[in-house]
């Protein structure tokens, strides 16, 4: 029983990271209908920023985290401006956008491999070791902070999207880009802001990832990104609470598979879930069914 509880809490902690990253996929998909394959690699870029800041430059931790968040947001905007903007303006077929995203993803992975080598780098401790006992289960500080950070970010994001003017504009563009431009909303700007917010959340995810796993590689983003995308689809792509729920479910499912079945098959379970979701509820748990207009 305690073991089960421990696995679930562990899953919630991993799931929090997934949820933060899944939000980036979900928001970008909501606004430009693009599966941003490069999003997973944005996490990798952010993680390497943490490495550079903490190990090579020796900057204090809080400066490092703040700088990482800001710079990752800038990277997100840069990727959007350099790779996607032209295509979005031209209104090219979706497949071209998707291929570009894969290109950006492969590019970032291989760039960092050339720069830092393909072997794993270890990251210094971010959250001090230690744990609290709850009902006989020991919960590490890392887990508590990870879950707390996710909850805080989620509340801030909800406030931003629902209560601010900019959030309203963002929702308008994702609802109907044409009508939104007629109301005087600059679509290009909103897309850039979406990428920035998504990347910022990914940066928080990256910091928590570094704290949890303490190791990074240039290819860490691909599998992580894939899982988070699955989480976003599971929750209903385009929906913010959906991404959160999806991420948490993924984390718990994975943790339980690792704990009770086999660690090698955890990835297979992830895609099994994806296929089941797509068969029975393609719009996801909290998504809306959209029908094609002719």
């Amino acid at each position: 029983m305690t073991n089960l509880l421990a696995q679930i809490i562990n899953g919630l902690s991993v799931g929090s990271i997934y949820a933060l990253v899944a939000l980036g996929y979900s928001m970008v998909y909501g606004i430009v209908k693009l599966i941003n394959f490069a999003h997973g690699d944005i996490i990798m870029v952010a993680a390497y920023m943490m490495l550079i800041g903490m190990v090579m430059l020796g900057v204090p931790l809080w400066v490092c985290i703040l700088a990482c968040m800001v710079l990752t947001a800038v990277v997100g905007i840069l990727v959007e401006r350099l790779a996607y903007e032209r295509l979005l303006k031209k209104g090219v077929p979706r497949i071209s956008l998707l291929i570009t995203a894969i290109g950006v993803s492969t590019f970032l992975q291989n760039l960092y491999q050339v720069l830092f080598g393909s072997s794993a780098r270890s990251v210094p401790t971010i959250i001090p070791a230690g744990s609290v006992q709850v009902f006989g289960v020991s919960i590490s500080y890392t887990m508590i902070i990870t879950i707390a950070a996710m909850v805080v970010m989620m509340i801030l994001l909800q406030l931003f999207v629902n209560r601010t003017k900019m959030g309203k504009a963002m929702r308008a563009v994702s609802e109907d880009p044409g009508a939104a431009s007629l109301m005087g909303i600059n679509r290009g700007k909103m897309v850039a802001i979406t990428f920035a917010v998504g990347s910022l959340l990914a940066a928080v995810g990256a910091v928590l990832y570094c704290a949890t796993y303490k190791q990074i590689t240039p290819f860490m983003g691909s599998m992580l990104g894939l899982k988070c995308f699955v989480a976003a689809v599971l929750g209903g792509i385009g929906s913010i609470p959906g991404a959160m729920t999806g991420g948490l479910i993924m984390g718990v499912a994975e943790s339980l598979t690792k704990g009770y079945i086999s660690s090698t098959f955890a990835d297979a379970v992830v895609f099994g879930i994806l296929i089941l979701v797509l068969i029975f509820r393609p719009q996801g748990l909290m998504g809306r069914r959209v029908s094609d207009k002719v």
Binding site: S96, A268, L274
Partner: protein, 381 residues
């Protein structure tokens, strides 16, 4: 008339393939093509099979597949295990029969699995096929790494080497022929119609789901065939070969050659297989370069080098005529399509993009890529 032209074109292409075949064999007999070059030719042929088959789904059908290497891996392991365990002859004429059967087995296994994942994925609109095939490719790799029968991480060794230059060339030519013929059939036109507008295609009475699944299964079949050739060429299989990067490499061939151009994919496959051999010194930067090619291509030339046009003897003839007699003669019979410039290297022929199935008749009338054209245009001179 049209049928006659089509037959003539097939005959001409067959003759050309035959000539190529003979030339390679003569060169091999003369010792100019040694083992190294022979190996290269086999690799090129395998790449051609992969690129052309992926083009059927990604270029012509317009559905992104990111797990082509996964299907190749399935075919490779299935074929290799068949050859090892079936006890069929592995030399002489028996060896030829063995590789034919093994290759079919590899292709069919890949096709079967593609059907299994295609059914849920293709029912949905949008990009789900990309993500599901990507996931599937990864699952296959993990499973191959953990199974007992595939040798796990050590890989599968001791596969009889049965692929030779001739087998691989024949398979490559057959693949191109079958996919080409498929695209000229009414099923092929349905494929194009689905790419251009799925809703319009459905409204015109095309069973879009069936069209998509058949094209997807055919592509996976040929990926399996390529896997079988590869397994019997190298003799050793390891799951790491068939990773996501390999799927991307095949995709780059399709994108670079021109999404929707069979000849384009063929040419790109040849170039991109030979290029790394020439550039061994900068091998570390290869994937980086591939990624840049993908991005820049999409930004500045989304159609790829050839776009949707095909290279053909007829087009070459038209190009020469244009050079010799001016533009008027050449322009006749080449339908231009909206939004597509003809700045493609001039010896290519513009294939009319089909906006809906309704225009299929037009295409039938002046399908340029399948005609040797000499008669039709000579009159207008």
């Amino acid at each position: 008339m049209n049928k006659k032209k089509k037959l003539l074109s097939y005959a001409l292409n067959f003759a050309l393939v035959l000539v190529l075949f003979l030339v390679v064999n003569v060169l091999m007999a003369a010792g100019i093509i040694n083992r190294y070059y022979g190996g290269l030719i086999m690799q090129v042929c395998i790449s051609v099979v992969l690129a052309v088959s992926l083009n059927l789904v990604t270029g012509l059908l317009g559905q992104l597949v990111l797990g082509h290497a996964g299907f190749m891996s399935l075919g490779a392991y299935a074929a290799a295990l068949f050859t090892i365990h079936s006890g069929m002859a592995t030399s002489g004429a028996g060896g030829v029969l063995t590789i034919i059967v093994a290759t079919l087995v590899g292709g069919l296994v890949a096709a079967f699995f593609s059907f299994l994942i295609g059914v849920p994925a293709l029912r949905l609109k949008g990009d789900y096929l990309a993500i599901i095939t990507l996931g599937f490719g990864e699952i296959i790799r993990v499973v191959m790494l953990n199974l007992e029968i595939t040798g796990g991480a050590r890989g599968l060794a001791g596969i009889p080497v049965l692929t030779n230059v001739n087998t691989s060339m024949i398979v490559a030519a057959l693949t191109i022929f079958i996919i080409w013929a498929y695209m000229l059939s009414r099923h092929g036109r349905a494929v194009l119609a689905v790419r251009e507008d799925e809703i319009a295609a459905e409204a015109s009475g095309i069973n879009t789901f069936r069209t998509k699944i058949v094209a997807f299964v055919i592509a996976a079949f040929f990926a399996g065939v390529a896997g079988s050739l590869y397994a019997h060429q190298i003799g050793v299989l390891s799951p790491t070969k068939f990773d996501f990067n390999y799927s991307i490499e095949i995709l780059v061939m399709v994108v670079l050659g021109g999404m929707g151009s069979i000849t384009g994919s063929t040419i790109a496959a040849v170039i991109l297989t030979l290029l790394p051999e020439l550039l061994r010194s900068v091998a570390d930067y290869r994937m980086l370069a591939y990624a840049l090619i993908l991005i820049l291509m999409m930004l500045f030339r989304p159609g790829g080098l050839l776009g949707r046009s095909e290279l053909s003897i007829a087009g070459l003839g038209r190009f020469l005529r244009r050079k010799l007699f001016g533009r008027k003669a050449a322009a006749a019979g080449v339908p231009m399509t909206a939004g597509e410039e003809l700045e493609v290297e001039a010896q290519t022929v513009q294939e009319p993009a089909i906006d809906a199935i309704l225009t299929a008749e037009v295409k039938e009338k002046d399908k340029p890529e399948a005609q040797p054209e000499n008669a039709g245009e000579g009159k207008e001179d």
